[in-house]
Amino acid sequence: MGIKAIAKVKKDIATVKLLVKHPMASGKIGGGKGDPKYINHLTVKYGGRVVYDMYPTSAISKNPYIKFAFKGAKKGDKITVEWKDNTGAGEKKDIKLK
């Protein structure tokens, strides 16, 4: 597990690229082996508001890549990336806007 991110601000728009280390395993449903393990909620917060709110499933590729942008961002501020998976595991990380 681990979150890698690049977040760049141009004017007041922040473009965020995320790479989350996660198996996103579908288990037997998808024709694989073992138990399913996939992220089912991923949020990004900025200054107390949610700027990205995604409900993924095991149909999202292994080690999910996510790109999005939001308005009203300021260089030097931070965003908080947080995910939870179907087994109850999760991770939270702050990323500085460059």
Partner: protein
């Protein structure tokens, strides 16, 4: 002593609340059944209560015509609507067609990219719910050379 215990309990409660805050109420956290649906239309019914969609240019879907690796197909979903509520991505050829949903929040530009798994050749659909609860749809067929649902 008792007071300390009480404060400790307070912190424990706060920690639990913080953990729960990520799953704030939304159409998708309230309808988890949709993600288990076996057909795209069943997922639509579970999430939105209808399968009535408008095929117009409000929902936009960018995908390759041919995917050599069904395990990682790049996709970009977007909408031209300013105040849409949410978006859902449906992969009709997958065992669980509802692949992902997004709640749209203020200030966020409704254009997201990610990579998806596709088991076989078929339609990918983007559903956008507008402010009035109407559904807009974009459809794109993708040919899959090597399926990628295993694992």
């Amino acid at each position: 002593m008792k007071r300390r215990k009480f404060i400790g309990l307070g912190f424990a409660t706060m920690a639990v609340t913080a953990l729960q805050s990520v799953s704030s109420a939304s159409i998708f956290s309230e309808h988890p059944k949709a993600f288990m649906a076996k057909t795209g239309d069943e997922a639509l019914k579970d999430a939105y209560g209808t399968t009535d969609v408008m095929k117009d240019d409000k929902a936009m879907l960018k995908l390759p015509d041919i995917a050599e690796n069904g395990g990682a197909v790049p996709v970009t979903v977007s909408t031209s609507l300013n105040n849409a509520k949410n978006m859902s991505l449906i992969i009709d050829g997958n065992p669980r067609p509802l692949a992902a949903s997004w709640e749209l929040t203020e200030g966020t530009i409704p254009k997201f990219s990610t990579r998806i798994k596709m088991r076989k050749t078929g339609n990918v659909r983007l559903i956008v719910e507008d402010a009035n609860g109407k559904l807009h749809e974009a459809v794109k067929q993708v040919k899959v050379t090597v399926g990628g649902c295993g694992g």
